[in-house]
Symmetry: C2
Subunit: 408 residues, 2 copies
Amino acid sequence: MRSYTKVDKLKIAHTNKYNIFGCIVREGPINRAAIAKRTDLSLPTVMAITGELLEKSAVCSIGKGDFGAGKPPEMFEVNPDFFYVMGVDLGRTEIRIIINDATFRQRLCYKEPTGYPFPEEAFICRLGHIIKDLIGSLNSGQARILGAGIAMPGLIERETGRVIISPDFGWKDIPLQSRLQELLPFPALVRNSNHALALNESALENGSDDNHVSFCVNLGYGIGAALIIGEELYAGAKGTGGELGHSVVEKGGPFCKCGNSGCLEAVASGEAIARQAAVIAAHHGDSRIAELCGRDISKLEARMVFEAAEAGDEGARKIISNAADYIGIGLSTAVNILDPDRVILCGGLMRNGPFFFEKIRAGMEEHVMPCSGRKLKLTVGKGGEYGTAQGVCRAFLNSFWSEQLLPI
Amino acid sequence: MRSYTKVDKLKIAHTNKYNIFGCIVREGPINRAAIAKRTDLSLPTVMAITGELLEKSAVCSIGKGDFGAGKPPEMFEVNPDFFYVMGVDLGRTEIRIIINDATFRQRLCYKEPTGYPFPEEAFICRLGHIIKDLIGSLNSGQARILGAGIAMPGLIERETGRVIISPDFGWKDIPLQSRLQELLPFPALVRNSNHALALNESALENGSDDNHVSFCVNLGYGIGAALIIGEELYAGAKGTGGELGHSVVEKGGPFCKCGNSGCLEAVASGEAIARQAAVIAAHHGDSRIAELCGRDISKLEARMVFEAAEAGDEGARKIISNAADYIGIGLSTAVNILDPDRVILCGGLMRNGPFFFEKIRAGMEEHVMPCSGRKLKLTVGKGGEYGTAQGVCRAFLNSFWSEQLLPI
């Protein structure tokens, strides 16, 4: 059904305060007249509410702005220490954590190896301890932490933050969000890693321009993706969309850890690249790949295969080139179905120089429907190794904002 | 950027009239109190505006409703003859046209073979004549036709209704919408057939429940699809999304008319099924397939292959089964990426009994990521052969409504 506009007058005062605070958080430094214009509220309302926000130390005045002619207006921005937010990225190889202040500046970052995430309960307890120790190391203590976003690979039920299945972690049906809620002194929100990463990339890319459809692909140990329409994540009916890694690109192809066969992830992920290179390392002890992993194939990682390819190893080049081809096919399918205007490639595999990127581009251009991708921009992500943690911070804040829960 | 609510007071009166008229069109028969509740407007405003709409014959009173206790209220619905809308479905084999009245009841339907759509200009002129003749055959004349939606396969630029490329028609860069605007005495809107079909299926399926994500697949001469989120079509950045038929399901597979190879459409569309069966018909003159096409392979159609399979022809069964497998793979990819809660299969190929449907279901279930499709409903479309024409009628009306152009 089409909906008709409805205004609940009792909520207006509360909403006004939120709109003004939100405007200062997102657009500060900003003056009262600009706030009034952006929020469509009267100047007296803006003056009263900014006064209240100043009193509560939610915002601060940073002096007079200089706009040339006329009396310089007072500029406001959010008080950076008014709240902090934590972002936790549970990757298959590393756990990466950041704490951002209210201006979204990173105040702390931390990482350690993930290790073997079993049994789940022990892993969750360990995570609880890591988070509490980090908060303890912050001068301001935990009082100001609004909460934490936690990103992990796999299907996450949006409503509950339950891990439906995570092939990377070998987890199935784990109530991660509610377990963390019990362990932590603040709210926790669990999201899919690829969705979090995409939120961050899209925000970094967009600036003030929100009319884009971005498809963000995470090429790492596994392969995942997410679609961002404007500023909104499109996650599907149950929130489990974006599983590009489990598209079948080779009917009857190699077995995948998800249980199917021929998935993109089974032929082109970091894990698949390392697995294929292990055959070379095991049978050609004098190869560059064997040398790089110290002749211990259990230590073989995708980055070594890229290094060997760079050094001219033919086998390594073939493996990389084949993976790029398949990624190109997977991307072309996504482009044909979704018609994004930007495809952003992120993740560990993209830290290996332009050869891989150009191979992927060629594969995609070969397979995309003629004309359909003609305005498509293919780029490499900008978020760096803490991009997913930043993204899940954003996801947490978005959820917090939408519920108007900030203590103002 | 997040937007803040803004109300332009000058538009309120106009918007109120639209909301009330729209409410009567979509939800009638309805009484004044119910209109007031649905539109969040006061009863006096509703009374004044319904009075004006009655006077203009935009709506009519259909007497008193019976709600049990209390005085029975007067019920309103749109005047069926207040406006008509035309829907034109340009299919590769047939042109199908409908005219709906204001209550969306079908008042006329018409079809004729498409023939060979070349040269484009001659085809467009012919189409103009067909449309004008049909309008002439309506008693009420063309005065009340608001306009026409025209659906055709291929990439259509949303802003302009230009055909970027249509492999089915062999067209490239044809300004179809502006040419029809010149030929017709009312506005025309060109849309992609699969998008139109999906709008109709989603509307038939939803009823009053709009919280669904539906992926609607058109399996006919070609293969296309569209995603409907709630009631809105998601068509991508340039409006060319949904090209599932050009996903590569077989790396290095058969050549496709789009210019690529291994596309789903090249191995599983009606055209591909007929093309594969032609090999049997040409080399096995005593086969059921050869018999069904009168030993003239240029007359071979997919429905004959289905008929031969039904009659036990092993070759035909293999072709159908192989096509269903590939469609299952294509669907699983779409489900993994999009996480819809409904997949609706439509088009000519679905008129061939449960064997094909069950094969597709099995193929999809085999290849979809475990758990990701666990609540997914797979159904066959309900729209019938005029479904695309109905859908493009809806698309035209949606566009018309959004611009508040109705003459009230």
